[in-house]
Structure formats: structure tokens, C-alpha cells
């Protein structure tokens, strides 16, 4: 029975996934394409061959960080919709270090990452502080702070740190030494991915195996109880928002140091918001964030191939993504009905065998 419970959720999410694929199929058919070709291309573009896989994983990397950032904050009871802004701040900080700081290579990357973490974390502290000091709803403040961060960084790269001659606000390229080492040449798949995995494991361990993690977990679910068992609620709130913001910030660094090699205004197409979705779909589990982020990465980079191979336009692959998200989100309730149905069957069987079944 334990096994049964353990296997249940994966099984259900699989079903949900399949349902959404069916709907996707209908959409593709309506668009006058062959679903097999389309999905074939999607999967091939996402996973077939090292270079495609590398593409998938490299676009998953920033998503893991933002997803983790959101997950940490939510687990601690802060509804952090602000990963996007924290990502911008982190990316900017990393870029400045990467461009201007005259450091030897082995130091440059760690310092840049640290800067990104601090920038994102501190930016995350703003809504957290507002919440504990004034009781301001963090959903709104974090949301608003996204726009502020985007505008602020845009200003920086259009005025003080503008690359001369650039037609768009951007910094000059970062030093070669600041680039995250590639894991697969001919792609942007870099050590950032490993860092992301490490971060997730670290957080998972913290939550499961430390007092601080325990307190944050409790706080996220019931602040009164936490206070009652002696948790310093304010301190913990600040801490998990700092952590969350920090990881989102590193997401920005991964983008700048690992992919774009410079900060360009509006650098993120919404990794922060995807991070939110990913974290929610992963149920705020730090480990769960990894497969979800990879799923998103696959949909993105596989989407390209699909758009090439068929007449399915980019916006339709967006729709298909949306449908998948919808059904993944609905899985939980599916699972509830499913279990109770199974238990009913079990009971009926037991009755037939005459055992009361207690």
C-alpha cells in the first residue's frame, strides 16, 4: 500500500500529461498538421542527440534557479511573485562584476555569482521587510518590484553602463574568464546547470534535515503554530525571502555569465514567472523543481524544432504549453478521486472474501 501511494502521484501526473497531449493533438490537427510529425519533432528537438539535449538543459538552467527561488520563498510562507525582478537584479550585478572587476578567473565567477545572490536576495528583502513591519501583502509588492527592477536595470544599461555603439541598452561583453565553463561545446550548456542541481539538493537537505528548514516549513503552513513552538517568525520570513531572492538572482547570473555573456535590457522573457509556475507544479519541492524546469526547457527548445518541421507557429506551441500546464495543475484532485475509488474496490474484495477488513 505504501508503494502504491508512492507511485500514485507520478502515475497521475503522467495521465494528466497524456490528456494534455491529446488536446494538443487536436489543436495541431486543426492547424492542418500531422501530430506525429509535430510531436516527433518536439521530442527530437528536445532530447535527440547530445546537442539537442544540451539545448534543453541550457534553457532549463535559469528556470531551475527561478523555480527554486520561488519554491523556497513559498515554502517559508512568502508568496514570491517577484522572481523576475530578483533575476534582473542578480543578472545586473553579475554582469557588472563580470565586466569591470579585475580578478583572476578562478575568483571572478564565484564573486560574480555571490554578487548576483546578494543583489537578488537583498531585493527580495524589500517585500519581506514591508510584510513583517507593516503587514503589506507581498503578492502585490513583489509583483510591482518586478517592473521596477526591469526599468532600473534598463536605465543602467542605457546610461551609466551602456556599451558604446550599441543600438539597444546593453553592457559590453563580460571578460572571457567570467564565462561559465561549457559542459558541451557548440552549445550554451554549462556548469550553471550543475550549480542549479547542487542548489536544489542543498535546499532540499536544508528543509528536510535542519532546524531552520523545519521552522520554515512549519511557518509556511501555519504561522501561529510556528510562533507557538518558538519560531522567530520575522527572522525566518526574512531568511527564506533572502534565500529565494538570492537563487532567482543567480538565475540572472546564469543567464548573463552562461548564455548571453552580457546584460541586455529586457534580458528575461519571463523566467521569473515560469519559475513561479514550475515551483507550484513541483509543489514547492526543491527536487521537484528540476524535472519541471527540464520539462519547460524541453518544450521551449523542442518547440523550435516543431515550428521548423511543421507549420505550427510559435504561438500555437505556446497554447500547447498552456494546456499541458493546465492539466498538470489539475492532477492532484484526479489523484484524490482515484485513491478513494481504489480503496472502495479493495473493501468490496475483502467483503467478498468475508473478512470485515479492519
Amino acid at each position: 500500500m505504501k508503494i502504491f501511494r508512492k507511485l500514485l502521484l507520478p502515475f497521475i501526473s503522467l495521465c494528466a500529461f497524456l490528456v494534455s497531449l491529446v488536446i494538443g493533438t487536436v489543436i495541431i490537427l486543426l492547424n492542418g498538421d500531422n501530430p506525429l510529425v509535430a510531436y516527433g519533432a518536439l521530442i527530437e528537438g528536445a532530447f535527440n542527440g547530445m546537442s539537442n539535449l544540451a539545448g534543453t538543459l541550457s534553457s532549463a538552467t535559469p528556470l531551475i534557479f527561478t523555480g527554486l527561488g520561488v519554491a523556497v520563498a513559498f515554502k517559508g510562507g512568502m508568496a514570491n511573485i517577484g522572481a523576475e525582478g530578483q533575476l534582473y537584479m542578480g543578472g545586473m550585478a553579475a554582469a557588472l562584476v563580470g565586466v569591470y572587476l579585475p580578478l583572476p578567473g578562478f575568483l571572478l565567477i564565484p564573486v560574480a555569482l555571490l554578487a548576483a545572490f546578494l543583489a537578488g536576495g537583498l531585493y527580495g528583502l524589500i517585500p519581506a521587510t514591508l510584510k513583517i513591519k507593516t503587514g503589506t501583502n507581498e503578492v502585490v509588492t513583489t509583483l510591482m518590484l518586478n517592473y521596477v527592477a526591469i526599468l532600473f536595470t534598463s536605465y543602467l544599461v542605457n546610461y551609466p553602463f551602456k556599451a558604446p555603439g550599441a543600438p539597444l541598452g546593453m553592457t559590453v561583453n563580460i571578460q572571457k574568464a567570467a564565462r561559465l565553463p561549457l559542459l558541451y561545446p557548440g552549445s550554451r550548456f554549462n556548469v550553471g546547470f550543475l550549480l542549479a542541481i547542487a542548489a536544489c539538493i542543498l535546499v532540499a537537505v536544508m528543509f528536510r534535515y535542519t532546524g531552520a528548514g523545519y521552522e520554515m516549513r512549519m511557518l509556511g503552513r501555519n504561522s501561529i503554530f510556528s510562533k507557538y513552538i518558538g519560531v522567530d517568525v520575522n527572522a525566518r520570513t526574512l531568511q527564506c525571502m533572502f534565500l529565494g531572492g538570492g537563487f532567482a538572482g543567480i538565475g540572472g547570473a546564469a543567464l548573463v555569465l552562461g548564455i548571453q555573456y552580457r546584460f541586455v535590457q529586457n534580458i528575461s522573457p519571463g523566467y521569473g514567472f515560469d519559475g513561479l509556475t514550475i515551483a507550484l507544479m513541483a509543489g514547492f519541492s526543491a527536487i521537484g523543481v528540476i524535472p519541471m524546469a527540464i520539462l519547460f526547457g524541453a518544450l521551449r527548445s523542442g518547440g523550435l524544432t516543431m515550428e521548423l518541421a511543421t507549420s505550427v507557429p510559435s504561438e500555437l506551441s505556446k497554447v500547447i504549453q498552456a494546456v499541458i500546464i493546465l492539466f498538470m495543475a489539475a492532477q492532484v484532485s484526479f489523484s484524490k478521486y482515484f485513491t478513494e475509488f481504489m480503496t472502495g474496490l479493495r473493501h468490496r474484495r475483502e467483503k467478498k472474501q468475508g473478512t470485515g477488513g479492519s
Partner: protein, 511 residues
């Protein structure tokens, strides 16, 4: 028996929660016009069964007949249509609505333009509140009421709908003796008018007092229905627990030491509306003593507990543990000397969304008992949790399931188990056996006595006079934020102490 009319007949009712079976082929027949009690240990499936009847929970299988007609009760709306009403064990009230709005919810009186008539609502609420002798201010917001008052609102809400079949799920858990008597009068009146009452309670005394028939559930199975006049508390208890109920009378060893462990000096506390709730409270609890603060809900017990727990700001006064003032320490440091059993287990005492294991560990997250180096050691912690589950026989499907899925009584046992396990020298205990079955109640009482005998200082806050008399060495009565009298159990009768609790006596003493 030929022409007996049954108001309710439930046959082979099953309910599965996930992997757990709350009801297994439950059968119950309730004769029209009788008061029918349902008893059973915590988790036996009483609430589930009645929730099915009220359309709150969909049965996995089984048939329900009301007034002889087979029915599918798919929603409370349907149940209400069948003339069924219910008082819920866990109150179902809207926090930001007023008492009146809660009582009228779903059947608001309308005036012109189909507007809701607020005046009428208030008048209506006031009427029935007086009619049934359960006093409560109709215009107060529910979120500002104490548990006791909430219970009254919950009951009034059900009564005001004039149901023919009324289900009451542990309505008396937080009522004073007088209120209970009032309520029972009402119930008897209903049954005389041919209305049917289904009463769930853990207080067998009450069951014997008011009911005509009693159905006993155990672990989701029906143990049968008996005529009240044919049985007694002892036999019932045995039927419920499936073993001989052998309650050794709790024996207290005489206090020898006179050392004062815990004392309160001139305590003053305001509530969230800045109203003074406790005025100049002073008391001493000796080592190896159980001091009870008895009183009707809403007279300051809640504030007292909160102040001691470090939830409410202490305006004046001291809280001394062995002479050290902890009045302004944070919760964590207070927990070094004190354990608290809060009156509200749903929000404060438990994290319902967390696992049983995590709930049992609360307060220990920093202690070496469950760590290896800086990290949790789940072997240790699970063993610790398992021991507590075992020792306090908490009925749960496992350590890793959500506390929310436990029955009320078992939830309470988690709180008690955790707080007892610290072995602190001061215990602040509020309503420890609220909603807990007799077995568990008896067990919790044993634990408290044991703590006392071990020389700990226990401050008990309770509205249940049986409990008060069973446990206390001394009793303080709290009324309107003041201590209006102190007694020893043998020096005063329950009736008389009731008068102090309701302010009929005692005020002149302190004025």
C-alpha cells in the same frame, strides 16, 4: 416491533478517506421523536457518519432512508430540504460575518429590491438567543468570539432553522453545566414535539441523562444499538473500547513540599480591541500541585493562556518561574521552563497541514535528542514520535500522514503528548480533554496527575467541572477578568461554583 416510525435509517454505509476507512458497513436506525446518542472513541467515525447524513460527505457505498423514504443526500442543501439540521464539531462559521449574519446565512430575510434586511437578521438572532438561553451579542463579529461563544452561535444557527432531525456533534464540549442543562431542556422539548435528535458526545453522563437509545461505533464498525435504560456508563465504555473499561480511580499523593514554582503577580492584559481582559490577576502554583482556573468562556481564560504563552502583550505584572520573571521573554525562552496546551488545537496547537511526525517534534527542532551533528536524525525523531504515538495511543494511519486527517480527539492527543514530553516543571493546560473520548480523557488525566505527583506545577484552565473536580488541588474562579473566589474541591459543590462562574456570587467579595 410492528409500527415504529424511523426518522433515519442508514444501512451498510461505508466511507473511505484515501486509503483509510472511516465507516465500514455502519447500520443505524433512529426512531422518530427520540434522542439518539452516538458514542465511540475518537476516530470511531461518528462525525463521518453524521456528515454523510447531512450531505457533507458522500458515502462510498450504503443506503440512507429518511422518514422511511430512501434518499440520496448529495449536499447540505438537500439535507436541509429534508428537515435535517446539524451542529458541527468543528464550527462552520464565517469569521468576518456578525453573529446574526452567520445565524441567518443561506436564509437571509429580504426587503425591497431583494436587499438583505440587516435589522431583521439582528432581531431574529437576538430572539432565538434569548429563546434558547444561549446569550451572545448578535452584532459582534464571529472572529472576535471565544470558543465557548462560537459553540453557542453554532448551536443557535442550527436551532434557528427549526429542523425536524437535529444532529449535534459534541455540542457540550465547551459549555458550562448550566448551559448544558439549558441545551438538554431544549432537546427534550424538541423530542416531546416529535422532533428527532442525534447527539454525539463523549460525556457518558450526559448520554445516560438525555438519550433514549445509544448506538456505539468502534473503528468505523457498528457495535450495536442499546436502550439507554438497559445499560450504564461502564458497559458503554467497555463496548466503545472493545475491552473492559477499568479506570483505576486517580489517586493523588499528598503534597509534601510547599515550594512555589510558578506564580503570577498583578497581571493585566488587553485584547485586540484594547479592552482590559485581565485585571490584576495574582496566583501561586506550588510544585506538585494542580491549580485550576475555572470560568465561563469569555471571562479571560483565553487571554490568560495567551499571555502566559507569550502571544498577548503583558501590560502590567510579572510571571515568575522559580522567581525569574518571564513576562517579557519570547516564546522560545519560555518553553525552556513551561509547556503549553492551548485551547485552540486547530490553529495553535497543531499544524494541520504538517505530518503527525512534524507535529510531535514541535519545539524540539533545536534539541540534540533528534539530531546527529547539525542535522536531523530521522531514526531518532521517528523513534521519539513513534514512542509518543504508542504511549498516548494516538490512532493514526502513520507518522507521515497529515494531522488534519486525524479525528478531533486524536489531534488533541498529539498536542498533549508533545507538551507532556518535555518534562518541564511548569505546565499550562487549557481544556486538555476537549472533544476527547473517555478513554483518552482518563488517560490525559492520569498523565496530569502523574506530572503533579512528579512535583511539577500544573495550571489548569477548564470549563468542564467534572474535570476540574477530578484534578484540582485548588480552584480559582475567574469572572469578568477577575478572580472572584478560591476554593478546594471538597469545600464547595458544583452547583455553587457554577454561581460564582456566572457572576451570581463572588463579586461582592472582590469589590
Amino acid at each position: 416491533m410492528p409500527n415504529i416510525e424511523y426518522a433515519v435509517e442508514m444501512t451498510d454505509v461505508c466511507k473511505n478517506y484515501g486509503l483509510l476507512q472511516a465507516n465500514k458497513d455502519v447500520n443505524i436506525k433512529v426512531i422518530k421523536g427520540e434522542i439518539h446518542a452516538i458514542v465511540g472513541e475518537n476516530g470511531a467515525g461518528k462525525t463521518t457518519l453524521t456528515s454523510i447524513l447531512y450531505g457533507l460527505v458522500a458515502p462510498s457505498s450504503g443506503n440512507v432512508k429518511v422518514n422511511g423514504r430512501p434518499v440520496k443526500i448529495s449536499s447540505p442543501k438537500a439535507a436541509i430540504a429534508l428537515g435535517i439540521g446539524m451542529v458541527h464539531q468543528h464550527f462552520k462559521l464565517v469569521p468576518n460575518f456578525t453573529v446574526a449574519e452567520n445565524i441567518c446565512l443561506g436564509q437571509e430575510p429580504l426587503k425591497s429590491l431583494r436587499r438583505v434586511d440587516k435589522k431583521k437578521m439582528i432581531a431574529h438572532a437576538r430572539n432565538i438567543s434569548e429563546k434558547y438561553g444561549l446569550k451572545v451579542d448578535p452584532e459582534k463579529k464571529v472572529c472576535d468570539l471565544s470558543v465557548g461563544l462560537l459553540q453557542r452561535v453554532e448551536i443557535l444557527k442550527a436551532l434557528s432553522r427549526g429542523a425536524d432531525i437535529l444532529i449535534l456533534d459534541e455540542p457540550t464540549a465547551v459549555l458550562t453545566p448550566l448551559e448544558c442543562q439549558e441545551l438538554f431542556k431544549v432537546l427534550r422539548g424538541m423530542s416531546e414535539q416529535g422532533k428527532t435528535v442525534l447527539l454525539i458526545t463523549h460525556k457518558l453522563k450526559e448520554v445516560m441523562e438525555v438519550s433514549h437509545h445509544i448506538t456505539v461505533l468502534r473503528r468505523g464498525l457498528t457495535m450495536g444499538t442499546v436502550k439507554t435504560s438497559d445499560t450504564d456508563e461502564h458497559r458503554l465504555a467497555g463496548l466503545m473500547m472493545g475491552r473492559e473499561a477499568d479506570f483505576v480511580p486517580l489517586e493523588k499523593k499528598p503534597q509534601e513540599e510547599e515550594k512555589i514554582t510558578f506564580s503570577i503577580r498583578g497581571l493585566q492584559v488587553r485584547d485586540s480591541f484594547n479592552m482590559i481582559k485581565l485585571k490584576d490577576i495574582s496566583l501561586d502554583v506550588k510544585a506538585g500541585e494542580i491549580l485550576t482556573v475555572a470560568g465561563v468562556e469569555g471571562n479571560g481564560q483565553s487571554e490568560l493562556v495567551e499571555a502566559l504563552m507569550g502571544f498577548a502583550h503583558i501590560e502590567q505584572g510579572q510571571v515568575l518561574v522559580d522567581g525569574e520573571d518571564i513576562a517579557h521573554q519570547d516564546v522560545r525562552s519560555r518553553r525552556k521552563y513551561c509547556s503549553f496546551i492551548p485551547e485552540d488545537r486547530m490553529k495553535t496547537g497543531l499544524n494541520l497541514a504538517a505530518s503527525v511526525h512534524d507535529n510531535l517534534l514541535g519545539g524540539r527542532q533545536r534539541s540534540p535528542e533528534i539530531r546527529r551533528g547539525p542535522f536531523f536524525d530521522y531514526k531518532k525523531s521517528s523513534r521519539l514520535a513513534a514512542d509518543l504515538v504508542e504511549k498516548f495511543n494516538i490512532k493514526t494511519a502513520g507518522l507521515d500522514i497529515e494531522a488534519s486527517s486525524l479525528s478531533g480527539g486524536n489531534q488533541q492527543k498529539i498536542v498533549v503528548a508533545r507538551e507532556m514530553s518535555f518534562g518541564n516543571k511548569v505546565l499550562v493546560v487549557a481544556q486538555p480533554s476537549r472533544g476527547v473520548d473517555i478513554g483518552a480523557t482518563n488517560f490525559i488525566h492520569e498523565q496530569l496527575i502523574a506530572a503533579r505527583n512528579a512535583g511539577r506545577a500544573v495550571l489548569l484552565i477548564s470549563t468542564d467541572l467534572d474535570e476540574v473536580y477530578a484534578l484540582s488541588d485548588r480552584i480559582h474562579v475567574l469572572f469578568d477578568g477577575k478572580i472572584v473566589g478560591s476554593f478546594t474541591p471538597d469545600s464547595i459543590s458544583q452547583q455553587e461554583i457554577g454561581l460564582y462562574m456566572t457572576g451570581v456570587k463572588g463579586l461582592e467579595g472582590t469589590a
